[in-house]
């Protein structure tokens, strides 16, 4: 399908080099964890996880990293962008359960939307946020009573990894609470691996949003296929179960770049 056109209505700073952009756009019909392909003609088209969707507007929370995002930073109210999607598999939860959302850096982008929706489903929620330092944290004020933060340098909250906060929470759960809890993760892959293992250790299911180089976004080009299942993460992901993620030989080990060459994560 040709992209539909959306118009920017507002943008705001979330953290250092991270902004949220809200576009007027009717009926995106997305679910938390899904993504859209945004197209700036003459520049590029890139995937972004959906940070909010009100059915009249949608928001993306974006880290400034390259040509596309540099251009997006120059956008003013009324500027137009092409939108395709929503694509991919969202986070899944049952009503009236407990959700522990774990975000690392700008990877937290889809989690506020997730928690808003889950709260509407009568879920109880908490948000664990990690970053290298304080001014890289997102969404710390969205759910103030349910949020805990960790920073590498101790400039905010717990000094250390967000997965250490996760372990504290998981440890405190009773067996009955564990049965109705799900851990939803989005962040740098080494953190995701640690979080998925931690959830597994405490017998709690997890869902992980996997970031791969998404080219077409529609399950055709094969650029985002993950080893060793061979499934394209734009369609069979980005959100998959922690159990499945941990079974994939590629998860936490490497990813492929725009040409298809393997890039290994630092150990």
């Amino acid at each position: 399908m040709k992209p539909r056109i959306a118009t920017l209505i507002s943008s705001k700073k979330e953290a250092e080099n991270v902004r949220s952009f809200t576009f007027a756009f009717s009926k995106l019909h997305s679910a938390p964890g899904q993504f859209v392909m945004l197209w700036i003609p003459g520049i590029d088209q890139k995937p972004f996880s959906i940070a909010e969707d009100t059915e009249k507007t949608f928001t993306v929370t974006v880290f400034k990293i390259g040509t596309f995002t540099n251009k997006l930073w120059t956008f003013k109210k009324g500027d137009q962008i092409g939108v395709s999607g929503p694509f991919g598999k969202p986070y899944q939860w049952k009503p009236q359960t407990h959700i522990i959302a774990v975000g690392g850096g700008y990877g937290a982008a889809p989690l506020a939307y997730l928690l808003r929706k889950a709260t509407e489903n009568k879920c109880t929620v908490e948000l664990l946020l990690g970053a290298r330092r304080k001014n890289l944290l997102l969404y710390t004020k969205k759910f103030p009573k349910q949020t805990a933060v960790a920073t590498d340098d101790g400039s905010a909250g717990h000094k250390g990894f967000v997965t250490e906060l996760l372990e504290q929470r998981l440890k405190a759960l009773s067996p009955a609470q564990k049965k109705r809890t799900v851990v939803c993760v989005c962040g740098p892959e080494p953190m995701e691996v640690a979080a998925a293992r931690m959830a597994k250790k405490y017998g709690v299911p997890s869902q992980i949003s996997i970031e791969r180089y998404i080219k077409c976004g529609i399950g055709v080009c094969g650029q985002c296929c993950i080893d060793d299942s061979g499934e394209p993460m734009c369609q069979c992901g980005p959100v998959i179960s922690g159990k499945k993620a941990l079974s994939l030989e590629e998860f936490g080990a490497y990813h492929r770049d725009a040409s298809g060459q393997k890039q290994y994560y630092k150990k």
């Binding site: 399908m1 992209p3 520049i43 088209q45 077409c216 055709v220 080009c221 061979g230 040409s259 298809g260």
Partner: protein
């Protein structure tokens, strides 16, 4: 009733004639295996060059009800990475699924070097992509537009593949008005088979933005809109090329399309952008639809259909 969907192509047994076409889901060994697990009789890797390429900026692909359009720009990890994927594919499929390697190059020297490197890996067939329509500015006119150039390059690559014992298929372009003559010239020059067709040139313009949709402005059309063009190309090639088989590719979305391609002269049938309409399950679905057709028509062996429409009237 027994129905046998197996096809022998260049001495290689395919459990069915449906092969994944090049450029779709063909970057990694695991993805290729998944297509085979979902029913493809064989698979073709995405075309590779000597050096890695990132291809064009997005948008690179677009689908509509009637056609699919792409200009990916031949992104690939380079032949050295591709060779590793070949070994991985053969390992994880236990050497049971025929694998077609696909190459392109910016010069004859590059073609020969990439052919040499890829044929040293355990591919079953080498497909030579003379016809990508989307990199014209870089590589000049597609080589498949000229019988002279196409046969010249075929002859040179054949020397490499013959030495390494790998059959060579030449993939041709429907943009050439004389594709059947070009196919005949390639046969003369030593091609072991022909793949027809690559995408046909096309484009899309967004009326709201009043601008081309693809970052490359123009691209290649596949899907339903390509089928009658591909069918006629296969039909024509079947009449000019007598000794070598054809991989009939272009707009095959279902079992009936595949049967029609075989009746026109295809021995194998390539399936690519159908994945966009029907998902990767399309391979198994098409095979089921072929079996249903065979049962209805009381056809025991699929190979009896190859080129049959040429003799019916």
């Amino acid at each position: 009733m027994n129905t046998n969907t197996a096809i022998t192509f260049l001495g290689i047994r395919f459990r069915n004639p449906i092969v994944l076409a090049s450029g779709i889901l063909g970057v990694t060994a695991a993805s290729l295996k998944r297509c085979a697990d979902l029913g493809a009789g064989g698979v073709t890797m995405k075309s590779v060059s000597l050096q890695p390429r990132t291809g064009h900026h997005n948008p690179t692909m677009m689908g509509t009800d009637h056609y699919f359009l792409n200009a990916v720009g031949l992104s690939n990890p380079g032949v050295h990475e591709a060779v590793k994927e070949v070994y991985e594919f053969k390992k994880i499929t236990r050497n049971k699924v025929p694998l077609i390697g696909s190459i392109f190059g910016g010069s004859i020297e590059e073609f020969l070097e990439v052919a040499h490197l890829l044929c040293a890996a355990p591919i079953d067939i080498l497909e030579v992509n003379l016809s990508c329509p989307n990199v014209g500015d870089e590589f000049g006119c597609p080589l498949a537009y000229s019988a002279q150039i196409a046969s010249d390059i075929t002859r040179k690559i054949k020397k490499v593949t013959a030495k390494q014992g790998v059959p060579m298929v030449i993939k041709l372009s429907p943009n050439a008005w004389n594709i059947a003559q070009i196919a005949a010239a390639c046969e003369q020059a030593g091609a072991d088979a022909i793949t027809a067709v690559n995408t046909v040139s096309g484009m899309a313009i967004d009326a709201t933005l009043q601008a081309p949709v693809l970052a490359n402005m123009v691209g290649g059309v596949s899907g339903a809109a390509l089928k009658p063009i591909a069918l006629k190309a296969v039909w024509d090639i079947f009449t000019t090329v007598k000794r070598i088989p054809i991989i009939a590719t272009g707009g095959v979305l279902n079992g009936e399309d595949a049967i029609e391609m075989m009746l026109a002269g295809g021995t194998l049938v390539g399936v690519g952008s159908a994945v966009w309409w029907r998902g990767p399950e399309v391979f198994g679905a098409i095979v089921s639809e072929i079996i249903k057709y065979m049962k209805n028509k009381k056809i025991h062996s699929l190979s009896t259909l190859i080129g049959k429409a040429h003799h019916t009237l």
